[in-house]
Symmetry: C3
Subunit: 419 residues, 3 copies
C-alpha cells in the first residue's frame, strides 16, 4: 500500500527519542473534568448543547481517540464515552502524569497569565514534575499584568509607569524567560506601528480605566475569564507592545487560529511588518500558531532577523495525520533556525502529548521523505530535527544547558500506543 508520508526511518527514531522544548504552553487542570468540561477544552469553538455536534466528531477528537486512548490503556479509536469513563476511572492525577510524561518534553515554557473560571492549573514546576522534565520556565502575559494594574486602581496619568513597573517586576522573578501578548484577540495587528506618546497613553488610559467593561465571555485557552478591565484599547495595546521591546525579553505573539474572538483577517502577521521594521535589532519576536497564515509568518521569519514562528495549537487540532502538511508550508522558505516547537496545550493533558506527537511525526515525515529522495542528507535532517524540536528554543530564550541528550525511559510512549 502506498503511504505518502514515511512512517519510519532514522529521522523518526531520532525525533522519537529527542526531548523537546515546548516553548509555549499553559497549565493543566488539577481536577477531574465533567464530560462537558472536557469537551469544552478540546475545541476552540463551543460545546453547543442540543446541536448534536460534539468536538469528538472533529479532527482533534479523532486524534484523541486514536493517539491518546492507548496512553490510558484503551484500544485505538475507543469510543468517546469509553474514553471519558476511563479518564474518570484513572483520576486527574494519573491522567495528567501519563500524558505529560508521554509528551517526552524536556523543557516547558509556560504562559501563566491565563486561568479562566474556577479551574486550578498546574504551576510550571508541577507541570515539569508531572512529566519528569528537566525544567520549566515562565512566560509573562502582559495583558494580564496591565489588567491587574487596572484592577488595583491607578490614575490615568500613572498607568504607563505603573504598568511598566509591574511588568519589570514580573519578568525579574526567577524562571521568567519571555513575555507574551494576545494583541491578536484585542485589536488585531492593523495598528499604528509607532510608539505612542505619553500624552496619548494617558488619554487612552483615561478612556479605558473608568469605563472598563466587564468581559463575560470565556472559552478557549487564549482569552480571559471575566475580568474587570479588558485591555482592548489600540493605544494601550501599542504601548504594551513597545513596553515588551523595552523589557528586552523575547516576545511571544498569538497570531492566526484561536476562538471566535479572533477576526482572522486582522491577525495575519504580515500586518506587523511596519512594527517589525521599527523594532528591528531589539527583541526576538515569536509568532505563535500562525495557521492559516503560516506562509506569511514564514516570510517574516525569512526576511527579519528577529522573527521566529511555530505552528503550535494548529498541530494538535489538525492531528498527526495532517501535521506534516502544515509543517511543509511553514518550512517552505524558512531558515531552519527559525521554526520552534510548541504544544500550546491548555487545560487537558492530552494536548502536551498530542502536540508533541504531531510535531514529531509531521517533522519526521517531512524530513525522512527528503532523505529518502536524496533531497536532503541524513545528517542535515537530524540537525534540522534537533534545531526545530529543541535547540532553537535554547538559543532564542538563552536557556541554561543541562537538558539530557536523549529521553531515558519512554520507549514506546511517543507514538501513543502503550499505556
Amino acid at each position: 500500500m502506498s503511504t505518502p508520508s514515511p512512517t519510519n526511518g532514522p529521522v523518526h527514531e531520532f525525533l522519537a527519542g529527542l526531548p523537546l522544548v515546548d516553548h509555549h504552553c499553559h497549565g493543566v487542570v488539577t481536577a477531574d473534568l465533567s464530560p462537558e468540561r472536557f469537551e469544552s477544552l478540546i475545541t476552540e469553538g463551543g460545546v453547543w448543547p442540543g446541536s448534536g455536534i460534539t468536538p469528538f466528531d472533529s479532527p482533534v477528537g479523532v486524534a484523541i481517540r486514536r493517539h491518546c486512548a492507548p496512553v490510558l490503556g484503551l484500544p485505538r479509536h475507543a469510543p468517546a464515552a469509553e474514553y471519558l469513563a476511563r479518564r474518570t476511572e484513572l483520576g486527574w492525577g494519573e491522567v495528567n502524569r501519563r500524558f505529560v510524561a508521554a509528551a517526552g518534553t524536556g523543557v516547558f515554557c509556560v504562559d501563566t497569565g491565563y486561568s479562566p473560571g474556577s479551574d486550578r492549573l498546574t504551576t510550571p514546576a508541577e507541570l515539569a514534575a508531572a512529566g519528569g522534565a528537566a525544567a520549566a520556565y515562565e512566560v509573562v502575559r502582559l495583558e494580564s499584568v496591565a489588567e491587574a494594574v487596572a484592577g488595583e486602581g491607578v490614575e490615568p496619568g500613572e498607568y504607563a509607569a505603573a504598568f511598566v513597573a509591574a511588568s519589570q517586576a514580573a519578568v525579574e522573578r526567577p524562571g521568567v524567560v519571555a513575555v507574551k501578548s494576545v494583541a491578536a484577540y484585542r485589536t488585531g495587528f492593523d495598528l499604528d506601528p509607532s510608539r505612542p506618546s505619553d500624552a496619548d497613553v494617558t488619554e487612552a488610559a483615561r478612556r479605558w480605566l473608568p469605563t472598563g467593561e466587564i468581559a463575560t465571555k470565556s472559552h478557549g485557552p487564549h482569552e480571559e475569564t471575566p475580568v474587570r478591565h479588558r485591555l482592548d484599547d489600540p493605544v494601550l495595546v501599542r504601548h504594551l507592545l513597545w513596553t515588551a521591546v523595552d523589557l528586552g525579553l523575547p516576545l511571544q505573539l498569538h497570531t492566526g487560529f484561536g476562538d471566535n474572538d479572533i477576526r482572522m483577517h486582522r491577525v495575519d502577521p504580515a500586518h506587523l511588518t511596519d512594527w517589525l521594521h521599527l523594532t528591528s535589532g531589539t527583541i526576538p519576536v515569536l509568532l505563535l500558531h500562525c495557521w492559516p497564515y503560516q506562509r506569511q509568518a514564514a516570510y517574516l521569519a525569512t526576511v527579519f532577523e528577529q522573527v521566529y514562528l511555530d505552528v503550535g495549537l494548529t498541530l494538535h487540532y489538525v492531528g498527526p495525520a495532517r501535521a506534516r502538511a502544515i509543517l511543509e508550508e511553514a518550512l517552505e522558505i524558512t531558515p531552519f533556525r527559525k521554526l520552534l516547537h510548541s504544544s500550546d496545550a491548555y487545560g487537558v493533558a492530552e494536548f502536551y502529548q498530542l502536540g508533541a506527537l504531531a510535531f514529531r511525526q509531521g517533522m519526521a515525515g517531512l524530513l525522512q521523505e527528503r532523505v529518502n529522495t536524496d533531497d536532503l542528507s541524513l545528517p542535515d535532517a537530524l540537525r534540522i530535527a534537533a534545531w526545530t524540536g529543541r535547540d532553537n528554543a535554547f538559543r532564542v530564550y538563552g536557556l541554561p544547558a543541562g537538558l539530557p541528550e536523549a529521553l531515558p525511559e519512554r520507549d514506546s510512549l511517543p507514538d501513543g500506543d502503550d499505556a
Copy 2:
C-alpha cells in the same frame, strides 16, 4: 507505481453507492448548445475569441474529456471537437439525462434565482426527474427577489416592507428550504455588520431605485443577466442579510471563487465574523465554494455553531485529480458535521456528475488513506462520508426522510467510465 491517493477500498465503495444531497446547484439548459455557448458555460472566465485559449485547455476541460466523455460513450480523453460533436449527436435531452443520472444524487437543492439570457433552465422537478432523484427543493435567491420588487416599481419608503413581504411569500412556497445571497458579488463582506435602520434603508432605496443602472455584463452562473436594478447598495445588501435572519431559513452565502465581478480580497468569509457574532443563535449560514479561503471558512465553521461550509464549484473546476487536496484543507480542523456536498452545477449537465465524482473521489481518497494508516477507524470513516455527502444537509435543511439508503442501478457510472 506510487499513487499518493488511494483509489480503492471500502470507503470508495461506500461513497460510490451513496446517494448524495447536492445542497446547492442550479438548473441545466434545456436546449442544444453551440460550441461557443458550451465553452462559455465551463469557465468562470470568458471564451476570448481569437485568443487561442479555450476553456478545454484548463483543469476543468481536461476533467470533462477524461470523466465525462465515457458517459457519452466516448473514450477517455476524447478530443474537444469529438466531445462537442457527440454531445450534439445525442441531443440535450439524452445528454442531460445521462449526466444527471450519473451524478448519483438523491436530493437537489436548486437556486432558481439565476437565469441569464434566453436559456431556459430545468425546474427543480425536471432536474430531479432527469436524474431519478428522490426529491428536489428550492433555494430562493434574495437579490432576485429584491430586484423584482424594484422592477415592479415601489416607493423608497415602501421598499423595505415590499422586499420583506415578497421574500416571505417566496419562501412560503412549497419545497423552499433555504435562501441565498450573492452579496459577495455586490459589495463583498467588508460591511457594517449591524442591522440598518428603517430610515437608512429608505434613504438607500431612494438612491438606488431611481438611478438603478442597467447591468449589461453576464457570464458565469453566479451573476445576473441584464437586469434593470442590480442590488449593490451596501445598506440594502445589509438589509437583505438581516431579512434572511428574520425569514428563519438557512442562508447560503457565495464566498470566494467566482467570475471577475468578484473582488477576491473582499469575499474572504472572515469579514463576516462580526455579523456572525450579531446573528449567533439565529439561522444556519452555509458558506459556499470558499476557495481560496477554505481554511478561513473552516475556522468559522469550527468556532461558530451556526456556520457550515462546502467546496462546491471549486471541486469540479480543480477536477477529481485535485479535489482531495482542497478537501484536506477544508477539513483540517472542521467538525465533520459542518461540511456539506454541493456541485454548484449550472447550465451544463456535466457539472452535476463531475462535482459528485470529484467529491466522492476526493473524500474517499482522504478518508481511505487515513484508514490505511490507522489514523481513522473504518466505521468512523464511513460515518464521516455519509455525514458530509448526505446527512449533514438533511439536518441543516430539515429535509423529510425517505432518501434511499443506497443507489440502485448505477454500478459503474460514478467513476465516469461507462456510457
Copy 3:
C-alpha cells in the same frame, strides 16, 4: 519505498530536454563573490552577522548543496564551506558558464533595470552567450526609467511627458519585449485604479521631485540600490502603470514574495482587480512570483483574458523538493496557456539552473502522476509541459521563431548530478 512524486517517466524526459524560455530574470555578477556576498545573494532576508543563522541553513541553501554542488564537480550535499571554496577555485567565469548552461534555457528575458551597488552584471547578450541560449531579450523596468528622469532634473509640469518619452525611447531599443513594474515594493496594489489626471501627476511630481529622499537600503534582487529619487508616490505609481498600458508591451508585475520592503498583505494581486477591469483589452499583464498568493493569481489568470502568472523566485527558494506543491496550487484552476516559467535569477548563476530544475521536476512530477493515474493523457501532458515551459512565453511576447526543438548537448546536467 514510497515516493509521492513520480521522478521518472516520459514527461520527465520531455521536460529535461525542452529548452525553456525564462521570461523573467536578471543578470549575474561578473566577479568572484566573497562568502558574505554570496550568502547575501541567496536570501531575501539578510546575512545577519553574529546571529549564527546562515542562508545555507534554509531550503534554498540545502537545494544549492544538493543540486548545484554536482555542477561544480562536488558530491551532493557538500558542506557550504567546500562549496564556496570550489566556487572560488573555479572562478566566476567558469561557475557562471556551468550554471547558465546547466539551466538548459533557450531564451532569456532579462530585467536590466536593477543593478545595485558596485556589482557588474551580465548583459542579456552575455547571459545568452554563457548558456549557449538561442536568444536574450530585454525587459525595461519602468521605475528605473522614472528615477533616471528625475535624476536628470525635470520640472514637475514636465515630468509626465518626460517619463513617457523616456519610456518610449527605452522600449523602442532592439530586443526589448516587455516592461516591468515593482509597484508592489513602492505602494502595494491597494491603489486608486483610475488613470490620474495631468494635474494630479504634476502635483505629485512637485511633491516628489524636490524632496526625493535618498534610499540607502539594498538587498535582494527586487529593489534598488541607493538612488536619488525612489518612486513611491501613489499617484506617480498609478501614472507609471497607465503609461505601461499606453506603451502597449506586456507588463511584468512583481507580486507576493520579496525582501522585507514588501508589505505582504498589500501585494496580493487580487487588489489589482479594478485596474484589470479598466485595462481589459489592452496589454498582457504577467504576475510574477505570486507566492503565497498563487491561488489568487490563478483566479485572476482564469477570469481575465490578459492575465498570466508564474511562480518564479518561489520555486528556487522552496527548492525542487517542494516545487511541485507550489505548482499544484498555481495550476488548480488555471488555463494551461496562462502559466509561464521564470527563474527570477539574480546575481548568482546557481539560480538559473535551480529555477529551471525546480520547474522541470515540479511540473513533470505533477503531470506525470496525472498520466500515471490516467487523469491526463500523455499527449496532453507533453503539450502542457511545452506550453508552460516555452510556448506560452513565445505567444505572449511575440518572440520570433527559431528556438531549437530540443536541447542538444546537456545530457545529464538538468538534474544537477554531473559536473
